[in-house]
């Protein structure tokens, strides 16, 4: 299986111990202890309002939390290079800005009104090729569809040359086939670029097929481990709070993990 090849010593990219997040009177996360294995694909699953996004924001250092989050294997201690693809980017869609403008604004120092540097432009076009949307380079960023924006944001995250890539519902709003394609694309890029991937997902079938490690979250960690160990009826009903009529995920997970 791929995880054995990627991570022979079972090292961790992120270790969360006793992480607590409180927002006003609401306890969003309660003593979360979890690990994100190095170089693999980890999925966080859980119902709405379970604290999935808060957990990723805590890892990204964007919300205050109690407890510790450590990154034992990053190049700069405590400060890994992140790539982040948010679920739905809130921005002013009327802003005159091409996809190239936006991607350059993150990596080029020389103001873009003086033009594009050839070196950065090449790098961006190569990255857009990698996420299969080179044709979007000169389109207006605000006029793109949701799925196209996700791809541009993925390209932007990859331009950071991330050690840890975090995706919030990358397959939300994409049809099933689109979701599959997106996950296959991510798996392929991850293997060449060797980063740790952490994604939130609602789509259990995609998780079963494409993640090596699953964290089931509902304010606390209900279970974590390999998909075929975790995605059982017992764990899922404890996570989502009801019995789910899902066809045998146990076997599905095993079958697909063979081919991934």
């Amino acid at each position: 299986m791929s995880d054995v090849i990627c991570n022979p010593h079972h090292e961790d990219a992120v270790i969360l111990s006793d992480v607590k997040i409180r927002l006003g009177d609401n306890l969003i996360l309660d003593n979360v202890n979890a690990r994100v294995p190095l170089g693999e694909s980890t999925a966080i699953v859980g119902p709405n309002g379970a604290g999935k996004t808060s957990l990723t924001l805590a890892i990204l250092g964007q919300v205050p939390y109690k407890g510790t989050i450590s990154f034992p294997h990053c190049a700069k201690p405590g400060k890994p290079r992140f790539g982040f693809v948010p679920q739905k980017l809130q921005f002013d869609r009327d802003m005159p800005m091409t996809v190239m403008d936006y991607l350059l604004s993150g990596i080029q120092i020389m103001p873009i009104f003086f033009g594009y540097s050839g070196k950065h432009r090449e790098r961006i076009l190569k990255m857009l090729d990698e996420v299969e949307c080179r044709q979007l380079a000169n389109r207006s960023f605000g006029a793109l569809s949701g799925g196209e924006i996700q791809r541009v944001l993925l390209a932007q995250a990859l331009l950071q040359d991330p050690e840890i890539l975090i995706l919030d519902e990358p397959t939300a709003g994409v049809d099933f086939k689109g979701g599959q394609v997106c996950c296959e694309l991510l798996n392929r890029i991850r293997k060449t670029r060797r980063f740790t991937q952490l994604m939130i997902s609602h789509d259990l079938a995609t998780v079963a097929a494409h993640a090596n490690h699953v964290i089931c979250l509902n304010h606390r960690v209900v279970a974590q481990g390999a998909p075929h160990e975790v995605l059982t009826h017992e764990v899922l009903s404890a996570t989502f709070g009801l019995h789910l009529g899902i066809p045998d995920l146990h076997n599905l997970a095993k079958d697909v993990s063979k081919c991934s």
């Binding site: 009327d94 993150g106 944001l153």
Partner: protein
């Protein structure tokens, strides 16, 4: 020394405008002042429009009253107390906006009212200053002095440095500050430096067009440029050009005998004409929506 440099600079910029009205020294100095303010206002305006901070700049403009009031209380020149208070208000709003869960409009609204009330209360007690308030309401570029032009030059240098290293970063931040921060842009530092520069640009623009029209001087060229452009680079240049043409045309028209209008209002009217043209341009372009909101 400084005044002779400013005098020769004024002569130089005026030499491009061979009009009778430009013979007077105060017109030459006004032109130099406006040519310093216009690019600063135009570029700040782009970032104000992109980050939806028009109300923010309006509040800083209105702090001019309170700046004058502070000057009276501590008997210092308003040329000193106005920028200092504007900086304070700018940083305060930015701090509250970043840290509070109140909507930023609410935060700004409260501070806006407080500084205006304070300014009016103190200034109204003093009859002689109350008469001068017209200058702050409508601007008075013709009386700009050497000291103000010298400080504008210093501000312009700081501003150009910031924009050279920060223009792209500010663009990233205006799309989404959280995403920018995750991708290792020091968002807080950029936002505070921008708030400081914005405050100073606004308070010097009050000199040109007055408290009432100051936001227009920043926002109208940028909004016009948004309608004309498809990418960030062209938005920058179009906004800059429209701003410079508007101040020069506004100053010249205001000095004509047939017009005899206040310079500030005429400048904003010129910019507005460009905006109307941009709306017509958008109407003729299928598939592009107009940018009529602030």
């Amino acid at each position: 020394m400084i005044s002779s440099i400013i005098m020769s600079l004024s002569e130089f910029v005026s030499s491009f405008l061979p009009f009778e009205c430009m013979d007077a020294m105060f017109m030459k100095r006004a032109l130099l002042g406006l040519l310093l303010i216009a690019p600063l206002a135009a570029v700040t305006g782009i970032q104000v429009v992109n980050s939806r901070m028009a109300f923010f700049s309006d509040a800083i403009g209105h702090s001019a009253f309170a700046g004058v009031a502070l000057g009276l209380i501590f008997s210092v020149s308003p040329n000193f107390s106005m920028p200092v208070l504007a900086l304070f208000v700018g940083f305060l709003i930015m701090y509250l906006r970043r840290g509070s869960r109140l909507s930023s409009d609410t935060v700004i609204g409260v501070i806006f009212s407080a500084v205006v009330a304070f300014g009016l209360a103190v200034v109204s007690r003093n009859r002689s200053v109350a008469k001068d308030m017209q200058m702050f309401l409508f601007g008075d570029i013709l009386t700009i002095g050497d000291a103000e032009i010298a400080s504008l030059i210093v501000l312009a240098v700081a501003f150009i440095l910031f924009q050279f290293f920060g223009y792209n970063r500010m663009l990233s931040i205006s799309v989404n500050p959280q995403l920018a921060s995750v991708h290792r842009i020091p968002v807080a530092a950029y936002q505070y430096i921008f708030a400081g520069l914005l405050s100073l640009v606004v308070i010097y623009s009050v000199r040109a067009v007055g408290v009432i029209l100051v936001t227009a001087l920043l926002v109208v060229p940028a909004a016009t440029a948004r309608n004309f452009s498809k990418n960030s680079g062209s938005m920058f240049w179009i906004s800059l050009i429209i701003s410079i043409i508007s101040v020069v045309a506004g100053l010249l028209i205001s000095a004509q005998k047939w017009a005899n209008t206040p310079a500030g209002a005429t400048i904003v009217l010129c910019a507005s004409v460009f905006f109307v043209i941009s709306l017509i341009y958008v109407r003729c372009q299928p598939g592009k929506t107009s940018d009529t909101e602030k």
